[in-house]
Symmetry: C2
Subunit: 231 residues, 2 copies
Amino acid sequence: MGLEAEPLAAPHPYWPRELEIRRYVPNDRPTWHSLSFLFSASAALLTLTWRAAGWRGWTGAPMRTGRRLAICWFAICGFIHGVIEGWFSLYHTEIPGDQSFLSQLWKEYAKGDSRYVIEDNFTVCMETITAWAWGPLSLWTVLAFLQRQPHRYVLQLVVSLGQLYGDVLYFYTEYREGFAHSEMWHPLYFWFYFIFMNALWIIIPSILLLDAWGHLSAAQRALDAVKPKKH
Amino acid sequence: MGLEAEPLAAPHPYWPRELEIRRYVPNDRPTWHSLSFLFSASAALLTLTWRAAGWRGWTGAPMRTGRRLAICWFAICGFIHGVIEGWFSLYHTEIPGDQSFLSQLWKEYAKGDSRYVIEDNFTVCMETITAWAWGPLSLWTVLAFLQRQPHRYVLQLVVSLGQLYGDVLYFYTEYREGFAHSEMWHPLYFWFYFIFMNALWIIIPSILLLDAWGHLSAAQRALDAVKPKKH
């Protein structure tokens, strides 16, 4: 009677449960749409890059299996950073209420980390740098290896360290918040989305960082052996 | 009568002004103690490292002025990351109420960025990685250049990129919060403490990153020219 009810906060699947998410609209696509898009696009890129790296026309040089896989990795990173994380960087304010394909993907992922639907400050900053710095640099790394450019290992080192530091901060900030933004121990949301998917960007960049370190140190050692001792 | 007054939040010099800082105790040392410690310790390290880098006994190789200055920079970074930021990483919960020398230094600095007296999550994580990763690696970089180790430029690249990324995130997170944790445009606190002191870690690492990039690419180019074309 004259009193208008406040609109209740929309119920949502995110943690902590008391979180208020303005303008949240539940996904209208099934989860497997997002997941199959992510994995099939990555698989297609892997196949394409694998074949491209095998083509002798680039430099005439044969390419080892490990190196070909590393190039495929950077192609997938270019796609995930540039397109998927690029979308988050641009539209993070609209995602909770938006039904476009990539927004639904992010609303699904956020079940493992709700910082993606609350415009968490660190998350937005880190993702923006990932999208606009490590994304294009990943693609440049692909090209640098295909064309055997002299800075190919420098690029591998830069991108890998950038990914590693960003991801360490990503886990560390959430650890200090007691993993409050996820349903702890949930097999899909906590273990697969949050832990496994991000652990990839700890493990693989660490390996590639050490690989680049080894190659660059060897090159410097070789140069030091022939050049006069001048720093 | 029978009602006990709630203890009022202690008045403090931090921004935003309504910030509540538990257990805050104002510094009992004058500001110039902190500042002169920071700058005289840095100057002493610079002098010491400058002389050390000039000693021919290390490798018998002469060292260019720019290179000697870069080594001095890494020595100062080792001290600031390891000691000063290391202190923050360990004692960030106690600093607001503590009167030890380095806690007073941080309470002074926090006038330019109050995130240091409120245990801001990102700040604690970034400073902890800076202290325990870039700190020791800075000292290793000093040693690597003095001894002309083959990974000296790799270390320079790693430390510089780590500093740059951390500092970009530091400014970016605060920019997105509207510089709320400082008195905007204050000549000492905003411009000198917050902007200038941190801008150093944007400018110098950027230069050193490009320098390392150039050296490492040149080494790889030289190696590629003599080695069979094998990736």
